[in-house]
């Protein structure tokens, strides 16, 4: 966490610093001995996360995620930047851009603009309000590290986009009231 803060202390969050954070996280994920499978049980259903380091206040949140094959998340914007790096397994991240004007409540259209495969030795990073969808691919569980600009318990409202419904729905913000 100190290394992340040292990266952002001068320049804040921008594409360059996010890339540097991703490289740090990828390097950490390569140290598999730090994340023995025995310490992180498989999901009872298909996905769960374990807090590793969660800072106080508006601090960062680092999690180990375990997800089984085919576990997915629809395109969503969680309002805050994040970086992910694989310990083992593979997860497809698809990136989207909203294409409507947002004037009709509940309606939205998105267009896929990119895709990366997060696997050991690789990671991905996204800025505040980027939209991504995830799917665990292959036949092995995906074990990954995810670092968020806020802890999950203090997440802003998450906007979920559904191309098949042409809709957007949100979950409530967990941010403290102003």
């Amino acid at each position: 966490m100190a290394q992340v803060h040292s990266i952002t202390s001068d320049e804040g969050i921008n594409p360059s610093t996010l890339h540097a954070i991703k490289l740090k996280l990828v390097a950490l994920a390569k140290r598999k001995e730090l994340f023995p499978a025995a310490d992180f049980a498989m999901p009872v259903a298909q996905g769960r996360n374990y807090p590793l380091l969660v800072e106080d206040g508006d601090g960062l949140g680092l999690y180990l995620n375990v997800a089984l094959p085919d576990k997915e998340a629809a395109p969503h914007d969680h309002g805050i930047w994040c970086a992910t790096a694989a310990v083992s397994g593979r997860e497809k991240h698809e990136f989207y851009r909203r294409t409507d004007d947002g004037k009709e409540p509940g309606s939205a259209s998105v267009m896929k603009v990119g895709e990366v495969l997060v696997q050991p030795g690789h990671g991905m990073v996204m800025a505040d309000h980027d939209i991504h969808a995830t799917t665990v691919v292959g036949d092995k569980p995906m074990v990954s590290l995810s670092l968020y600009g806020y802890a999950l318990a203090r997440f802003p409202s998450v906007a979920w986009y559904h191309p098949q419904f042409q809709s957007v729905r949100t979950t409530a913000s967990r941010r403290p009231a102003a």
Binding site: P43, V44, A45, G47, W160, H162, R169, T171
Partner: protein, 97 residues
């Protein structure tokens, strides 16, 4: 062609067709029912509902959204649930159950 089942949405009082390879939520939204949902992929539990009758199979979902005790008590996630018989569901959001 996938087998089709009848799904009754107790809250709206409607019965709709739902193919075996379709989720209850997909069928409900396609039928114009204002079913409460957000992620639609088993990550948020906004759509959590009581399965009053019938059988479903579940696509992958997160542990935090539906646990074994909830399933045993008759709850399900329509965004992940595909019918395996005619079913009746009742969403818990907005109505308070």
């Amino acid at each position: 062609m996938a087998k089709t089942y009848q799904v009754t949405i107790r809250n709206s009082g409607q019965t709709i067709d739902c193919a075996a390879n379709q989720t209850i939520l997909q069928a409900a939204v396609a039928a114009g029912i204002d079913y409460p949902y957000a992620c639609a992929t088993g990550n948020c539990a906004t759509c959590i509902s009581r399965l009053e009758d019938g059988k479903v199979s579940l696509l992958p979902y997160g542990d935090a959204c539906l646990n074994k005790a909830q399933i045993a008590s008759g709850l399900t996630l329509p965004c992940r649930a595909r019918p395996r018989s005619d079913v009746t569901v009742n969403w818990l959001a907005r109505s308070g159950g």
